[in-house]
Symmetry: C2
Subunit: 218 residues, 2 copies
Amino acid sequence: MEMESYVVVHNIAKRHNVGTLARSATAFGVSELIVVGRRDFNAFGSHGSTSHLAFRHFHSLLEARSFLKEKGCDICGVEITDDAVAVDQHPFKRSTAFLVGNEGTGLSAKECEICDFFVYIPQYGSGTASLNVTVAASIVLHHFAVWAGFSERIRDGNKFVVAEKPAKQVKRNFCAETVDAIIEERKSRKQNASEFFDGDGNAQSSSNLLEGLFSDDQ
Amino acid sequence: MEMESYVVVHNIAKRHNVGTLARSATAFGVSELIVVGRRDFNAFGSHGSTSHLAFRHFHSLLEARSFLKEKGCDICGVEITDDAVAVDQHPFKRSTAFLVGNEGTGLSAKECEICDFFVYIPQYGSGTASLNVTVAASIVLHHFAVWAGFSERIRDGNKFVVAEKPAKQVKRNFCAETVDAIIEERKSRKQNASEFFDGDGNAQSSSNLLEGLFSDDQ
């Protein structure tokens, strides 16, 4: 059976981290980046990698869990819990989706509930206790790729060979939007319109949000 | 013999990365962060971790190499060279200093010259070819800590236990500044004054630069 990895982010706090996370996810052969909850982030920091990475959006953690369970995935929380296993022990069994916490706060109780098991990144010395969320996710994704035996990308000189990007006119990425989901979102937008105004008080249309999700800003 | 790890950064381009790098270095038990060349960065992104991490500054790569060789260190470049070994193979022998490249450009020929060997981080899939420099450094430092068998920090609930910070009046960190080095720097500052003006054209004093190096901005 072919192994796959997924990354799940839920209401991520710092916008710019999503782009850097997308870059790492691409580098480590992640199949899809799954965004749960708010999705009005841009892809700053991704250096164009989003063109190679599939995104998927769900409104709730339970919807995301159902989707991943249908795929036969374990859901692994990256968090320092009592039963968490050090990631370098490779406690993996099958395709795995990694749920990473918001910067600084770690995973909430609700987030922990959808996880099948937990890994943590051992720390040493006496200093900081919180790694940058993209750093933590990257270390975990790297270990999973090593464990799963993903095919290594071919190197050419001092660069990895990058596949040609799809032509601009071709639909890039995809988003699992159903008509129901769009209706649901419009409803919640009406209920809480203030969320959809930017700092200058300008309304952002739904298409702007989607555009932002897939933007290639560097 | 007790193993130690060091991080060497040379003319690092993106200021905010130094702070995040310092956070990771602290988490992975790095002994010192060695800054070569320009040092007018601040520690943004470090979340206070710089108080636990020792910094050292050298004007040239060769000075840094001499210092590290006296310590009995290997110098390992993090770069995709023909003879680079995948980092998960743990090609380490003794205390090691890791030289990480500027974001995007990798290591220069001059930087490669001071290295004893190279490691690279395997990539998978067909997307981006450049990992964020802090992500790359963090993966390497994590592997070295696992290989060296550093003592793992004690966990308490879902946090690592962090040592108490030194009181504010105590001199934090240190910097290997000799009188000669300061005279040398003042000389080079006169020769190339433009480097020491910020974006608004304001002159920055030497003490500001040093302050910036050790700042705790979050």
